[in-house]
């Protein structure tokens, strides 16, 4: 499989010990709690969920949309999507795709965990169209399980922090966050779930309990409030007393690199 060249964000220039993707993986893994059930998308979510399982959350139950419940994916054998047999290694149970998605609807899942191409102030995600949907500049791959996960679970999103990705309003709502903020999500027919955290290579974002607008809840080491503002396409408040996350540990990085030696997802 092809890999992209290693990428270093400006904010991370001073911390060359890990890539932006590794930082993402570690920071989002830490948000998962032991005993939770997490529905993980392909890429960083898959990797981070496995990392959590191998560190602080050995009792984490991972679900993959291919129909996999409670697997232990092997180091060096990451799947190209969440629908291949590599995902099923030492799973507790395999079901149909429809059944595993219905587990979200039935309420058996604590956390939905996915990547994002474009996100807006209210946590809406776009993975369908760049530009106008009827005449797109880029046709993206689409929702996959994203729409269902975002509609039915408390969400963690892991993505790179870039101005073109953090926009005032997404070109298209593929996976709903809080839609237009306030109670617009519930009014749209989605009374359960919603955005919980957005993890980027710059920091960790949450959402205001009333307005449902995105706000910074932590910055990564070496990232200034200004750096996060510079890389966001809308007004993103940073509290004056915002905490700083702990740098990825050698253990966390070692596990990530053992999991993904070919750097499919962590380049």
């Amino acid at each position: 499989m092809t890999t992209e060249p290693v990428r270093t964000t400006p904010a991370l220039a001073a911390v060359p010990a890990y890539t932006a993707s590794e930082l993402l993986g570690v920071m989002s893994a830490r948000l998962l709690k032991d005993g939770q059930t997490v529905f993980a998308g392909v890429g960083i979510p898959l990797l981070a969920a496995i990392l959590a399982q191998k560190t602080h959350a050995p009792g984490l139950t991972i679900l993959f949309e291919g129909g996999v419940i409670g697997p232990f994916v092997e180091a060096g054998k990451l799947p190209p999507s969440t629908n291949e047999q590599r995902c099923t290694r030492r799973a507790n149970m395999l079901v149909s795709i429809t059944e595993v998605l219905l587990m979200l609807q039935r309420g058996y899942v604590d956390v939905g965990f996915m990547g994002g191409a474009q996100i807006d102030r209210y946590g809406n995600l776009n993975s369908s169209f760049i530009g106008d949907a009827d005449n797109p500049k880029i046709r993206l791959p689409g929702t996959g399980g994203g729409n269902d996960i975002a509609s039915l679970a408390d969400m963690i999103v892991a993505m790179k922090h870039e101005k073109r990705r953090f926009v005032e309003k997404v070109d298209f709502i593929t996976s709903p966050g809080f839609i237009e903020g306030g109670d617009s999500r519930a009014k749209a027919g989605l009374p359960a779930g919603g955005m919980f955290r957005v993890v980027t290579d710059l920091g960790i974002m949450g959402f205001d309990a009333q307005t449902r607008a995105m706000t910074v809840v932590a910055l990564h080491p070496g990232v200034t409030p200004q750096a996060i503002k510079d890389n966001t396409g809308f007004d993103l408040p940073v509290p004056s007393d915002v905490p700083v996350t702990e740098v990825p540990s050698d253990v966390e990085l070692a596990i990530l690199r053992e999991l993904d030696p070919a750097r499919l997802y962590t380049a």
Partner: protein, 317 residues
């Protein structure tokens, strides 16, 4: 769009659903698919894709198919580039996240030469399920509030008469034909599936015709020894074709993993000029091979052995 119940019943009544030998060749099976038919594909992404059957349909120069699947990988590109279909219905369409966004999908959809009709993953599953159950719709609780629902033809919201909640109703999908690849089945079409079943069981029940390709045909006696392992019943099946490595270069659970080098080759060939790249790929791997074995030869023996070695590892401790 949704068939009336009597129409659906009539189509099913006309089928010969009895226990009978349905074994035929890929070429014979391809004749069962009419131009313009709605076709559902079993498997998901790079798993148990009915690649050999699609290969036979391309070679038979079928066209105008409306093709649905849970998630489309390289076979979606093949559908567009071969002219087999200009309309696919799925929830996600690209080779696979590690290869980036499909250049062929982009080229065809952005130029409006082809349509990619997007539904949520669960909506795809529930549309097949409604079709499998013989009801015109399934109620569900996602897609609402998104842009996806606005562009999904036929989805309707309703106020639940029991709870007052807002629900989405997605219309039944009863494809004219389902193409499903399985690890093993008997001559009558009783099929066992190992590992991930994706949406295949609902697809088989929903379709008005089912063509099974199978790694291996086994005896009906063997199926009857473990009837609780039969996942697709003979009564839904119209054709059985034995095709070893029938999902190549995708995987077949427990037997072979994806042919990764070939998948890389495909990505490289279509990266710069998707039209020419796909045309070259089709010529070399679809039109020129004299038969399925020749297709596999062109992918390469070493590739095949490697995919098989990796594939059988799922059962090792």
């Amino acid at each position: 769009m949704t068939q009336s119940y009597l129409e659906l019943r009539q189509k099913t009544r006309e089928r010969d659903r009895s226990l009978r030998d349905k074994v035929m060749s890929l070429e014979e099976a391809a004749k069962l698919v009419d131009n313009g038919a709605s076709v559902a594909l079993g498997g998901c992404t790079a798993s148990r894709t009915p690649m050999a059957m699609l290969w036979a349909l391309v070679r038979a120069q079928k066209q105008g198919l409306v093709v649905s699947r849970s998630i489309m990988s390289t076979e979606g590109d093949i559908l567009y580039a071969s002219g087999l279909s200009q309309h696919v219905i799925t929830s996600w369409f690209s080779q696979g996240i590690v290869w980036g966004v499909s250049k062929v999908m982009r080229a065809y959809t952005e130029s409006k030469r082809a349509t990619f009709e997007e539904w949520s993953h669960m909506a795809m599953g529930l549309r097949y399920r409604a079709g499998a159950m013989g009801v015109p719709f399934m109620p569900m609780r996602s897609m609402m509030g998104s842009g996806v629902v606005d562009r999904a033809p036929g989805a309707k919201t309703m106020e639940c008469p029991f709870t007052g909640e807002q629900l989405l109703l997605v219309p039944a999908l009863n494809p004219d034909v389902a193409l499903i690849h399985v690890q093993r089945c008997d001559a009558y079409g009783n099929a066992q599936l190992d590992g991930l079943t994706f949406m295949d069981i609902d697809i088989a029940m929903a379709a008005n015709k089912v063509i099974l390709t199978t790694e291996r045909i086994v005896s009906n006696e063997q199926m009857r020894r473990h009837p609780d392992q039969t996942k697709i019943g003979f009564f839904t099946v119209d054709a059985v074709v034995e095709v070893p490595f029938g999902s190549a270069p995708h995987e077949c659970y427990g037997l072979y993993e994806p042919f990764y080098s070939h998948m890389d080759l495909y990505a490289q060939m279509t990266a710069k000029d998707p039209d020419k790249g796909a045309a070259d790929y089709l010529a070399r791997f679809y039109h020129e091979p004299k038969d399925w074995a020749d297709y596999l030869s062109r992918i390469g023996m070493a590739e095949l052995l490697d995919a098989q070695r990796r594939g059988s590892g799922i059962y090792d401790d």
